[in-house]
Amino acid sequence: MPKTKTEKTKVAAVKEAPIKESPKKDNRKVVLMQGNEAVALGALDAGVNFFAGYPITPSTEIAEILAAELPKRNGVFVQMEDEIASICAITGASLAGAKTLTATSGPGFSLMQEGIGFAKITETPCVVVNVQRSGPSTGMPTSPAQGDIMQAKWGTHGDAPAIVLYPDSVKESYELTIRAVNLSEKYRTCVILLLDEVIGHMREAVTLPDIENVRVISRIKPTVPPQWYKHYDENQKYLSPLASYGEGYRFHVTGLTHDSHGFPTNKASEAADMMERLRKKISHNIRDLVQIESHKMEDATIAIFAAGITSRAAKSAVAAARAEGIKVGLLRPLTIWPFPDDAVRRMLRNVETVIVPELNQGQLIHEIQRLTKDKSDSNLIAIQRVNGRLITPNDILRKIKEVC
């Protein structure tokens, strides 16, 4: 057995927020905070200056913090009449030039779906944070669940490719909120951040980067004169400049299928072009979008595939099993959509067994199944829980021992 000590945790992605010491920003160094606080802080550090939302457990702290902070920075906080209004208001504000975010949980996330589709078809940047709770319906408002993984991709009607990020810690909640805002601005779309209830409410020490070291991406503004402006410029590799309302460009935006100027069309060729553009801006940029963590996978014969809080239990289980000489590793998606197909294929080639623990009745596991060549594969093992309790390291360790 190779020495596990020499193995390193690899995060297969650029860190957006390098951490550096700075003497002047002492109050920003190490802070004990909740996941929801980290999201609010990440939003502010990413330049979010407009929040519209409706209170819902377990996401409410995000709204409360931003209600206090945004007015200090000339930003707008508005409590809307419901979640539908919230997604609409942030989309409108974004088209007027704001960096926008809203936060909700399952019931509100369901209400927002039509508006999320509108932001996607109109290629309008915005971020929706969904601090997941047990469902369906009102479910258990203060209990964790990972039941919205598929909704985050398929929730709105029609084909609308998704970018969905999934942190596993308070620190990563901060980082991925910044990344979500950055990606929404860069790809001109609605980016979704899925949090687990326990991460939203858990307190952990976070080492904050100096604000000047936070990498912030903002939409590209057009440089052409208004008469040449195309709201969806097909010549710009699917990432075209975005004008704001009220600045001389007088463009049209509609949720109808549109041409590259934004005007409605029924032409088959233009409809196909629009749909291809929406698809390709995601599928042609997988390398930029997908982040995974590969933990002790080098020699693993058993892999665990888990996201968010469940991956933390899995990591503990990996340590315990490794202590007993079992070659097990963890593959963890930080980007859940687009799905990390390549990394999963590699994993499937190299291991004999994959364990997929998740707090739902089977969502991530279907993606692994999709990529499994032998569909009858009995070496794909589920651990699923939907009773409001977490999957523990012991639950996973037991499974590891059963299969090894």
Binding site: I84, C88, G92, Y245, T254
Partner: protein, 279 residues
């Protein structure tokens, strides 16, 4: 020649690819579009500052035709999108064009809350008493006993009085006019745009092709004549005996109040918070 009305309207339209428009002949929507354009032209507003937002419906198809900042949103949600735009860019004149179904059925919640906040939006509600776009279903303003495709035996529901609804929710400017009274409409829209607060202009309109046909109202000219004959100006109401007012459309500005406007209040809050922070 410069001021003949068609010329003015022509100047504000988007000409390439957007025409012919989707509206039936005889529809009132075009008259309302003309009223909005003339109001804006009269006021000599910079069109870069004009934001037109709509929902879904025949009436809500309007923005695509005009050379302003334009946003055609979801069914019922125009006021919510407009709220986001106005709060981020308070200097813009935000005009919401909506229908009776769009604004008072699916969008009713946004209407009452925007009115309550008194945010400076100008809502032009084209009330044709029906869901035109989807082919004639009942709306919250379909009159009692009228026929709709989803009320084939006559509508058993009472209808909304849109202006009362808006006033009840706190709108600070509320007016009603008809598509027949084009000049009155144009002036009312002007007043509504000038008014600093939530404004509702209800324009009683004709959908001859669907509502008119289902309810045997004759053609477009007959429906226009009915607007003329069945409406009375607010000023005349007091002088008339109640039986002559009963069942009539009352036209005019029903409310014009000074009340704190939401974006102003938000700006004050920001100032207050920042002054405290500076200490």
């Amino acid at each position: 020649m410069a001021n003949i009305p068609q010329k003015i309207i022509h100047e504000y339209l988007r000409h390439d690819k957007k025409f012919p428009h989707v509206w039936c002949s005889g529809c009132s929507n075009g008259i309302v579009l003309g009223g909005i354009i003339r109001a804006i032209a009269d006021m000599q507003l910079d069109r870069d500052d004009i934001m037109m937002v709509s929902g879904i419906g025949c009436s809500s198809r309007m923005p695509v035709y005009v050379d302003f900042n334009t946003l055609h949103t979801l069914h019922g949600r125009s006021i919510a999108y407009a709220t986001g735009i106005k709060l981020h860019k308070p200097h813009m004149k935000v005009i919401v064009v909506t229908g009776d179904g769009d604004c008072t059925a699916i969008g009713g919640n946004h209407l009452i809350h925007a009115a309550r906040r008194n945010i400076d939006l100008t809502v032009v509600l084209i009330n044709n008493n029906i869901y035109g776009m989807t082919g004639g279903q009942c709306s919250p303003t379909t009159p009692h006993e009228a026929i709709a495709t989803t009320a084939p035996y006559g509508n058993i529901e009472p209808d909304f009085n849109i202006c009362n609804l808006a006033m009840g929710a706190g709108a600070s400017f509320v007016g009603r006019t008809t598509a027949f009274h084009a000049i009155e409409m144009q002036n009312m829209i002007k007043d509504a745009i000038i008014h600093p607060g939530f404004s509702m202009v209800e324009v009683i309109s004709a959908c001859p092709v669907i509502f008119g046909r289902l309810n045997k109202k004759g053609g477009a000219p007959d429906m226009m004549k009915a607007m003329r004959d069945n409406s009375i100006p607010l000023a005349a109401v007091e002088k008339l005996p109640p039986e002559k007012v009963e069942g009539k459309i009352i036209r005019g500005i029903l409310r014009r109040d000074e009340r704190p406007e939401y974006c102003d209040e938000y700006a004050k809050l920001v100032k207050r918070v920042q002054a405290k922070e500076a200490k």
